[in-house]
Point group: C3
Chain length 368, copies 3
Amino acid sequence: MSLKPSLHWLLVFVPVAVVLRIWPVLGGDVALFVCCALAIVPLAGLMGHATEQLGNKLGAGVGGFLNATFGNAAELIIGLIALSKGLTDVVKASITGSIIGNLLLVFGASALAGGAHYRELRFNRSAMRASMSSLSLAVVALIIPTVFHITADARSAGSRAASEQNLSLAIAVVLFLCYICVLIFSLKTHRQLFRGGLQSGKPCSDDEVSWSRARAIVVLIVATALVALLSEFLVGTIESVRAQLGLTEVFVGVIIVAIIGNAAEHSTAVMSALKNKMDLSLGIAIGSSLQIALFVAPVLLFISHLFGAPMTLEFTLPEIVAVAVAVQLAFQIGGDGETNWLEGVQLLSVYLVLALLFYYLPPDATRH
Amino acid sequence: MSLKPSLHWLLVFVPVAVVLRIWPVLGGDVALFVCCALAIVPLAGLMGHATEQLGNKLGAGVGGFLNATFGNAAELIIGLIALSKGLTDVVKASITGSIIGNLLLVFGASALAGGAHYRELRFNRSAMRASMSSLSLAVVALIIPTVFHITADARSAGSRAASEQNLSLAIAVVLFLCYICVLIFSLKTHRQLFRGGLQSGKPCSDDEVSWSRARAIVVLIVATALVALLSEFLVGTIESVRAQLGLTEVFVGVIIVAIIGNAAEHSTAVMSALKNKMDLSLGIAIGSSLQIALFVAPVLLFISHLFGAPMTLEFTLPEIVAVAVAVQLAFQIGGDGETNWLEGVQLLSVYLVLALLFYYLPPDATRH
Amino acid sequence: MSLKPSLHWLLVFVPVAVVLRIWPVLGGDVALFVCCALAIVPLAGLMGHATEQLGNKLGAGVGGFLNATFGNAAELIIGLIALSKGLTDVVKASITGSIIGNLLLVFGASALAGGAHYRELRFNRSAMRASMSSLSLAVVALIIPTVFHITADARSAGSRAASEQNLSLAIAVVLFLCYICVLIFSLKTHRQLFRGGLQSGKPCSDDEVSWSRARAIVVLIVATALVALLSEFLVGTIESVRAQLGLTEVFVGVIIVAIIGNAAEHSTAVMSALKNKMDLSLGIAIGSSLQIALFVAPVLLFISHLFGAPMTLEFTLPEIVAVAVAVQLAFQIGGDGETNWLEGVQLLSVYLVLALLFYYLPPDATRH
């Protein structure tokens, strides 16, 4: 995933963010939040690019695995920091936000951008369908704990916390094992399906300058450290920014944090669509959703158990409706292997409607 | 949309209805209701035919736009009259009733009628899929305000009326803008997809006698005025008819009013299927649903704000389930470009099951 | 459906089960339950095989009808016995369990087994889609009574029992009539679609030794009688087994009873997939689900009315979610006519997640 020259300039916000953190100025937390967000974007892009370069050096198999595991490292890091501060709801909201952001915002923006130049945008149907059914599995897994909670609540007054945690943990294990199967499928047994680019995670685009292994490793380590630092600042400001702008925690997680964590990928996907390379675009969008649902979410849940504050896979009704709707629409629109500008508009419209829903929703005072 | 000779005789009910309104007779309101219903059917057909003829005179682009905008004029008029009398629930029920009536009753009756004569009925898959994804967007838009209401209710005791109205208004704007994009798509950029007949609204069938422009305009104005008058009578009787027959407001809206408003189109669709012209049939069914969801519903909501009694897009759970089910089934059955008599039976069965649900449901005393 | 030599040996459990019933031993009810379960499996297989042989003798039309009607005789018998003992919830749970077991467990195991040997498994798309839309109709029919119950509860305090029973009865009639249409479609008007094997009920596989008519009838009668006897024992132990193993009635119905009733078919389906005969595998899986939903469920409901303890088609929320999810996933994965080992893993994972849900759910003390 190459970082277009136009995004490198955002790196200037890295030192600006550090400075703002040490010397708070007028506009305090909101300014710091914005600077951190703007700084994370190019860093996430550099992490992705370094991972890809390293993968090229180490061979297709390992490369694919690296891309698949570290492709969403930025979201993973932000999620870990948020978990350590106990912001479980923001973490869960950013999981759903990443999924619907990729399936609706990225897919839609790509279809609209590409469709404005090309009458029909075609892509590999089989690879698309293989990925979509994994996503459907993920949606089911995300729905079930909430169905359990609703049903158990209606049936008995006893505490179900232990059962809920066990159920969520078991489901997370199933999702993780499925992810490993997806890797085996796309990197080993059915590799030829994904030659166009829809690899489980990151598509391979070979049109940038090659980095040396040393350079890739150094960039990866430095960028990761900086993303961790800036995430620490960012998550620290979420509470006051939320209060100042009058937004709810869920809106911040679903829309804002999700967009920040995925922004670099978004730009690459749209750029690819403009060149009629929809396989690449969809590879980023669908692959990223897959990683979030089958890898990042389970890993965050496992780690939350290590932190001693176990997370469950129980989401709110609006989050579940949003994810189910996004997967359903993406399947309907993408399942036939072709798209156009109107379908892009429809996907973006659905994203807008969901964003409006989360914007207007009052905060949840009784969150568990 | 030509009016088959067999429907012209229903025009006799126009004077009958006027007479019944002035001199109520035994069987009073029910007889008046039935006569108005029977009289509106041929008038709606004449309105459609006049619109089509006018469109032919004014060129394909304007013609398509006219068909697209005035194709469901009858439902729009009935809806406006009902809104002015404060029957908001009947209006919303007739919106959902029109959608499921077109997707299940018309689609099913056409598939059954055509399938009884032809082993396989084929139609343009791409046009079908383009329309279906617009409908999915509409279903999402119809679901979201109710999701908001359920969630907001569970979270706080405060009044959410203002937020609900804003959310519904914003969503209506999104739907309306999408409708304009659909028009641009089907009338300008991807016109060739719809040559078979699935235009956004009304298919063009060129096998009737051509009318002069003056004749078309006169017929359109007279028919529209008569439909407005008869709708005024019809809506005025809904309350007492409902009470006399022991039906609920929702059943009257979803099944009865929806069928009345769409009856002329239904007959044309079934006639076309009998001649194995499924593109025409589905053009009417899907196109009509699209117009109701993306044009008529938003326009009625905007006008309700002008009336000072703002409508929301909040529907009851059974209505949401009905619409979601109808769109899902129509997508499954129509998405492969071919159908047969069994699929027609299945669509009609689902419509029957939904009608049974609305028939048995008790009235909603706490409707907001 | 041939009974592989490897299952005949299970017949030894028939006399063992009878003995255990007369002389209870240590491990009492659980041992009896297990022996009955193991004994029913080969008997169900023999019933299926005898039905098939009889069908071959009596001609394709009658044969298909026989297969279609008696293909799930084992589940029908178990259901009747359970109904007679008033275990309505177990009956309903085993209906949903049979549907999700066929669509997820059988389909998934077949895809995984076949996919481990063949890169791509292909099957007839049209037959698959025709069956899937019937299943979607069935899911709708199963959802509607519960939607009615939820809505009616929220609206009024009055008793709705009579309306619920009438609604369920009417829906059951619609389903049954649909089943007859499905039979006419697959056995008469569109027979050629199903030549590969996806008959409405049981696929015809001609590679076993032919039985005489007399032999087939005798085997059928004897096996049916034994299944009835063993079901009587089995259902009698459900309560105490459930209590001893700490399982809920719903889990026993959805997972355990459903697997027992379908085990013979499961093995045939997996065997067929190993020979890359996916049409046969899916014929068993989808056809069996269809029979359960459109034939067995309505018939059990009609008979419950004769017993004077009318059953409704009202299911719990987890059961509805499970069935909707199973049909949706099977449609997504099967709708394109090809599958692979990863899709098999996904289907099995969803089944596992649903089983975990039912395992952890607390019992429903207020079941109606």
